[in-house]
Symmetry: D2
Subunit: 140 residues, 4 copies
């Protein structure tokens, strides 16, 4: 898990807007930390669609992007009904593995940062070649 890209200057190539749901909140009155993991997943899914390869089609082609690592740093809380922008970029790749980084913002302020590491696997769960259409890592 490499956090350097998240804090860097380089703009992320894609951003997904979503709405913090009431079901995402907890008794502290803010969005529960577990909900961010779903937000990252939504941004990742929408980025694949924007790349012309909806994850649904990727899966039907026999490839899954299994999650092998996830990390989130919480900077400032999100509240119910806030519009949230989750920017994402592919920030590292090697062999069958790649990393996505995420910047979670709302109301012009960074709320959280995240990283997920994925392994491409075939239908039997064996490592698979990364699809050629995956973008090169940010900054490469």
């Amino acid at each position: 898990m490499r956090w350097d890209a998240v804090g860097g200057d380089e703009a992320f190539p894609f951003s997904h807007r979503l709405r913090a749901r009431f079901a995402d909140t907890d008794a502290m009155g803010v969005v529960h930390h577990g909900a961010y993991v779903r937000y990252l997943e939504s941004a990742r899914t929408e980025y694949l669609r924007a790349l012309g390869h909806p994850y649904d089609e990727v899966r039907r082609s026999g490839i899954d992007f299994s999650v092998v690592e996830v990390g989130v740093r919480f900077l400032r809380p999100l509240h119910f009904d806030e519009e949230v922008d989750v920017a994402t970029a592919l920030t590292w790749r090697r062999g069958a593995t790649f990393q996505m980084s995420y910047r979670v913002e709302a109301g012009g302020r960074r709320r959280a940062e995240g990283v997920t590491v994925h392994a491409a696997v075939d239908a039997e769960g064996r490592p698979a070649r990364l699809p050629p259409w995956l973008p090169p890592p940010l900054g490469s």
Copy 2:
């Protein structure tokens, strides 16, 4: 809980589009039945916004719409990444209580129908007058 409006001919005044997330699916390969409850909530929240009264503001004004009943009928499964339209209408009201009905559709087919019953309560949880801006029940 009254189901008649859901199956009726009358169009619902509002519809919210959302995307079935991977996190919403289960090991049967379809959207888990529990996720629909969150979909209804999202549609309800967006309808209040469309009425000019975001639920966040309603809550800050001291009123909560506590959920006292929920029901969902599952007609055909939803799958990951489908675009889902949740139409909603206020279909009944009496005293501090009102009912919302929902039609869940995707790809031109009805997938589920739902009903929620709500009680307006103040900060102490006591029954409160329904806000005057709530629409009259569908068909009234």
Copy 3:
């Protein structure tokens, strides 16, 4: 969906104890209504295990109990960390379909009541015969 058994005098044959998680709460400071659907599912799963037929084995035998209807009535809120007892019974059956009813209690008080209706389906999603080990409906 038949609610009569829930309010009846007859004891339910099985009860599952669980703990309300912090992740289950929402910004109203209570357990979110959507979490109850997962509580009912846990109780149902544990009841099948108590009957000697873990749902996992049922599924491997080629049968799924697809959820075709769910309903919950919320009587008094549940709070974080409360111990919750979910009693359940099979309360109706016909053809490939059966209904489970639920009483959700904590601290000696009824908090919610629920009903789920299920259809037995085979691997292709076609109606399947109900397994012979399913108990007769409560009171029959």
Copy 4:
């Protein structure tokens, strides 16, 4: 976030057993990665109870353990209905901040490892002194 304790030899002082719910699974047929975050939270909550300080009481005393960081490494998938043991230990502390580490096991095999970092905050969200009853870091 420090991962060294997770892979170390030292036994963790507490372990919580839970059951993987069907609602926790996803369309890959395994427990969704987001569910693990809830599993860690349950283990943490139960550990506080075992220490004689249920988190509910901690919160009523005016202290919250806000989550500032979470990380999970997924080693082998969990499946529906597996019994899961989540061992946890306090592995680092400084000022108002402490770290918990987690080992997630089932069927005698390590499935995942996790870390959460928490800040003690008062009712206004300001840093608060760590309660004196929090155990010293593992190995200190």
